[in-house]
Amino acid sequence: MQVYLPIAEVSVNILLLFGLGGLVGILSGMFGVGGGFLITPLLFFMGIPPAVAVATGANQIVASSVSGVLAHLKRRTVDLRMGTVLLTGGIAGAAIGVWVFNLLKGMGQVDLLVRLCYVVFLGIIGGLMFFESLSALRRSKRGGPPRRRHHGRLHGLPFKMRFRTSGLYISAIPPALVGLCVGVLSAIMGVGGGFIMVPAMIYLLGMPTKVVVGTSLFQIIFVTAFTTMAHAITSQTVDILLALVLLIGGVIGAQIGTALGTRLKAEQLRIALASLVLLVCGKLALDLFLTPSDLFELGAGG
């Protein structure tokens, strides 16, 4: 059954889209990730124009983050104050990201930028996760995450704030900077950025693990909502119909994933996710390095 997407202007199989949303939903339920970093490249493979895939991906993440953050708010595992600082930086970053995105779109390089970002970040995250879980599985002594070398310097910065939920008393500058970086990536890659935000909050800011996911989801809602707005206004590439089909599949998948996740061993899960991330990264990298089947490409004239 085909469905015609009004903004992407392509006709795609609706069941395939549902399946894609569902699959990513299952993964996000199992691993606690937003899934944006998988949905956007998979949309590329389906023939959705990259600009539309990125903008719509951001919209879809708003839905899954809202769904997730409600559960965390109930458990009081959201540091609203930290979240606000993060999202201030995040929105500024997203604005920069959208600006860069549109600049490169005009230069015909947006495809390359998006793909490069994906290859680099999926490669790093997938690789780190893979080796970390592998060593955890071997039950050898964990080589420990890279400890914060900047810890001393972090305390010397001005604008100190007290974050009660996180039990921290640190300068507002590092969280705002982390937010900024993730905001830029969110706009360029169409992801929530949780997969970068979460390690950054634990290792860079030293936040307790239990509040990290909720706080990350909280700020992702605002940053992706802003990104959606910015893309809708500047480049008109948000496809509501595409987002709707994806998020229905995603929401159902997430519940199945949560149930499945409790039955599997954590290390095996992480290795499976890492392999999947590396697989997507490898496919994208091959497209960049191998000689394309056609050396020419069409862009919008103006």
């Binding site: 059954m1 085909q2 469905v3 015609y4 009004p6 903004i7 202007e9 392509v10 006709s11 919209n59 879809q60 708003v62 839905a63 899954s64 983050s65 809202v66 769904s67 997730g68 409600l70 559960a71 015909g108 390089q109 495809d111 390359l112 490069l116 809602i221 909502a225 959606t228 707005m229 893309h231 809708a232 206004i233 008109q236 948000v238 509501i240 119909l241 987002a243 709707l244 998020l247 229905i248 929401v251 159902i252 997430a254 519940q255 960049l288 390095f289 000689t291 394309p292 056609d294 050396l295 020419f296 490409e297 069409l298 862009g299 919008a300 004239g301 103006g302």
Partner: protein
């Protein structure tokens, strides 16, 4: 006026056969194509007849060419080159005007249908329908960019040639079905039919076909273009509602 009539009639009858003795008329199976949510391409039947007042002239034989052209727009064609091991878009040529969709069908092999000169004049073949004024000075092989445009659009079924595919009966009635893929854009499409004899165009006729998004598709597309802020808000509200609704629904399911 009444007295002038016999004179006109006599004039019309005395016209030489090689003049406008053969005229082509055309009809379309539909005058609009609606892009709906389940749109998956469309087929348009183009048919017509040759009006004539004299006996059919057998040699050279009569040929029919049918073209369908989508709205014309400029296109940027990029060429990739390997830089630091990866493939990067480097050179680009701006094609000034290229139809978004172009199909050409003929009742005979191409070189028997129309001469080079007539093709150039009436812009019938795909190559002629594309207008490219000039490439930047740095690019010497601008033709390869035009070729690439045709090749890529042919790959997506947006440019199609069907030689020898127009059904032409008794040099009088013709019909051909043109298939449009799901990726066609909105706009006014022009269908043209050329009647040729010995490579020369003896008669032509043009008609238009409207391709429009309808219903939900039209509404969403217009909203995204005319009221982007409202559209953005709508997509966020839908997303928040769906996220909230889902968690509420599953909580109810678990507790119930």
């Amino acid at each position: 006026m009444i007295r002038a009539l016999p004179v006109l009639l006599a004039l019309a009858l005395s016209l030489p056969v090689s003049g406008r003795a053969e005229e082509v008329v055309m009809g379309l199976s539909r005058d609009s194509v609606a892009i709906t949510t389940d749109f998956n391409g469309s087929e348009v039947l183009i048919f017509g007849a040759v009006k004539r007042e004299a006996a059919i002239q057998a040699d050279p034989p009569l040929r029919v060419i049918v073209t369908v052209a989508g709205p014309v727009a400029p296109v940027a064609v990029w060429r990739k080159e390997r830089r630091f091991g990866i493939w990067v878009n480097t050179d680009s040529v701006e094609i000034d005007a290229a139809p978004s969709f172009y199909a050409v069908a003929s009742s005979a092999p191409w070189d028997e249908s129309i001469s080079e000169v007539e093709d150039l004049r009436h812009k019938v073949s795909i190559e002629r329908a594309i207008r490219s004024v000039g490439a930047p000075m740095t690019i010497t092989d601008s033709q390869s960019f035009t070729d690439a445009l045709i090749r890529l659009r042919e790959g997506n079924d947006l440019y199609e040639t069907f030689y020898d595919s127009v059904e032409f009966r008794e040099s009088t009635l013709f019909d051909v079905a043109i298939r449009m893929p799901a990726s066609i854009v909105e706009g006014t499409y022009t269908t043209r039919v050329f009647l040729t004899r010995g490579g020369k165009v003896v008669s032509q006729h043009a008609s238009t076909l409207e391709v429009r998004k309808v219903g939900l598709e039209r509404w969403l597309f217009n909203l995204s273009r005319n009221q982007p802020a409202l559209y953005g808000l709508l997509s966020i509200v839908i997303a928040i509602a769906a996220g909230w609704g889902a968690s509420a629904a599953f909580r109810a399911l678990k507790s119930g």
